[in-house]
């Protein structure tokens, strides 16, 4: 096995996913299969090859430092489930 059930559980928790027992079992199998598939790459000799950071051979896409109009606060908050005082409102996050 390339991945354990405990690791899948951990990754699930990091992604804030509530996984049932059945889902955990199924995902462990699926993720194991994916890792086995990718494992094939290890058959190739990649010595001296720079790791790919981007799929397209492009570099240096820049933007000038000029202010562009954005949203009004009303627009920014228009999809917020809850808002107050021109801000997104969430359950208190600090102890």
């Amino acid at each position: 096995m390339k991945i354990t059930r405990a690791e899948v559980e951990h990754v699930g928790r990091l992604a804030r996913l509530a996984l049932s027992e059945d889902e955990l079992n199924a995902l462990t199998g699926e993720m194991d299969a994916i890792l086995n598939y990718v494992e094939q790459l290890n058959e190739l000799n990649t010595d001296g090859i720079v790791p790919t950071a981007h799929a397209v051979p492009v570099e240096n896409a820049f933007r000038p430092d000029e202010v562009k109009p954005g949203f009004t606060p009303e627009q920014a908050l228009s999809n917020a489930p809850d808002a107050a005082q021109s801000a997104f409102r969430v359950p208190r996050v600090i102890e």
Partner: protein
């Protein structure tokens, strides 16, 4: 108590850059605006929005890297740092992990006693800031947190040091150096209160002689130079007490509370430390060639350390004066401009550190707004140096120059402040004073030499401060003794 433990400190400094816009979108970075009035699909993390790198951020990163002796990476990439927090709309922060833009730098600090110590800089990387959480107490905010995303996506440089510092004082000294450099370069406004310049300290202790580092705690939330010292010193004490009483330091993030001077554990963030970095597919690699680096290098101003050294070695200033004058770029420029026009560097230093700084403070003026230009100050100092006026009258002239913006020569002329160096004129005054104070003359001749000061004062007063004090002194002694 003997101190069998050695303190080890590394600093992570976050400097917010002075760009007009955010790092990946065109929203303004202006501080203190209505919450969420400076946002767009990119910095709100809306689906499908594409971040594009602000070129000025790269320019500032190269600048800072060169100023701190770093190597600039020919190729660097951006990565996603994944964690959930309400101030982070995308669920990840765009940062750099592998291949940061600058590496392997250093900065020297001065220790007590004049020795210097080199602090290693591991890396400098570019990243975006998170939004701001407001934990309001108004009825409608109670039990909730308000999220303002104006700051989200604001460009930061994170400057990471090696664990090279061995005391809170060394940490402060290094921090002040970096602060001075980023402000000199104009890449950061250096405002600690507004959070434009922030510092996290990694602190650990180990028994002297042990090579391996102790377990460290990361201190966050420190927003003044004084608090950093307090926080580190308190944390070192806490760790030593813990070890002495048989406990173990755990690796954790601790918050400094400036009200109590203590640090406290910030629990519940442990699991979040698994950030699962990976290259951000939205951003293409950044390639910086030598011609770009050279262009930035040639635009660098003289840095504070170099300036201080020049003031001492070339201009012969004492170390203290050099330190004060080099500490602020505009102040140093003012001094430099004054020196090129005046005869004596030390006189410029004295007057700028004395009169100019005092006046700035009194009138709440910035050095850039001084009504007396460096050339005008130089003219005034030269008039003192060539005895046209005395130093005392010089202060009066300085005051008038500040108020009117007029030149020294013009004021000396129109106000009739020129020093009297005519022997005959001074002799007349001397004789008058001697004639008017027979008792004091008798006492002086009876051996009370100190009274010479009294006579000089009287003569100076009679001349309205314009007589040359040296000549007054000389003539008085001659006349009194000859009486």
């Amino acid at each position: 108590m003997t101190q069998p433990y050695e303190t080890v400190i590394g600093l992570e400094i976050h400097a917010q850059l002075t760009t007009n816009t955010k790092i990946f979108c065109g929203c303004s970075t202006e501080f203190g605006k209505t919450p969420n009035s400076q946002t767009c699909p990119v910095c709100l993390g809306l689906p499908g929005a594409l971040p594009v790198l602000n070129r000025q951020v790269v320019e500032f990163a190269i600048k800072t890297g060169l100023a701190t002796n770093c190597q600039i990476a020919p190729r660097s990439i951006f990565a996603r740092k994944n964690y959930f927090y309400p101030d982070l709309p995308k669920g990840y922060q765009i940062s750099q992990f592998e291949l940061p833009v600058c590496e392997h730098g250093w900065q020297d600090i001065e220790l007590e006693g004049g020795e210097s110590k080199r602090i290693g800089i591991t890396r400098i990387h570019m990243e975006e800031d998170a939004g701001k959480l407001i934990h309001g107490d108004t009825p409608e905010a109670l039990g909730t947190s308000l999220v303002d995303l104006n700051r989200a996506c604001t460009p930061l440089l994170e400057i990471v040091s090696e664990p090279d510092m061995r005391s809170a004082d060394e940490a402060i000294s290094y921090l002040k150096k970096i602060h001075q450099i980023v402000v000199y370069l104009g890449v950061c406004n250096g405002n600690l209160e507004e959070g434009s310049f922030r510092c996290d300290a990694n602190v650990s202790v180990r028994p002297y002689g042990q090579a391996e580092l102790g377990t460290r705690a990361e201190l966050k939330n420190i927003n003044s130079f004084r608090f950093i010292k307090e926080a580190i010193e308190h944390e070192v004490e806490r760790q030593i007490d813990l070890i002495e009483s048989g406990g173990k330091v755990v690796q954790e993030t601790r918050l400094f509370d400036s009200n109590t001077g203590m640090t406290r554990s910030m629990r519940g963030k442990e699991e979040a430390h698994d950030y699962r970095y990976f290259p951000d597919p939205d951003l293409v690699p950044l390639v910086i060639d030598d011609s770009w680096i050279d262009a930035v290098r040639s635009s660098l101003p003289e840095l504070p350390d170099a300036k201080r050294k020049r003031f001492i070695e070339k201009l012969g200033l004492p170390e203290y004066d050099a330190e004060v004058l080099a500490s602020d770029r505009l102040l140093a420029n003012y001094f430099d401009a004054c020196v090129t026009h005046a005869k004596e560097a030390k006189a410029c230093a004295n007057w700028i550190m004395g009169e100019v700084l005092r006046k700035l403070k009194e009138t709440d003026t910035l050095i850039g707004e001084v009504p007396i230009s460096p050339v005008m100050l130089a003219e005034l100092l030269d008039r003192i140096a060539d005895n046209t006026i005395s130093g005392k009258i010089g202060k009066t002239v300085f005051e008038k120059m500040w108020q009117t913006g007029r030149g020294a020569d013009e004021l000396i002329e129109s106000e009739g402040l020129k020093q009297v160096t005519d022997t005959g004129a001074i002799e007349t005054l001397v004789d008058e004073v001697i004639a008017a104070n027979p008792d004091q003359v008798a006492e002086y001749l009876g051996g009370k030499d100190k009274l010479i000061g009294f006579f000089v004062g009287k003569v100076m007063q009679a001349s309205q401060g314009k007589a040359n004090p040296g000549m007054v002194n000389q003539l008085l002694i001659k006349r009194l003794k000859g009486n």
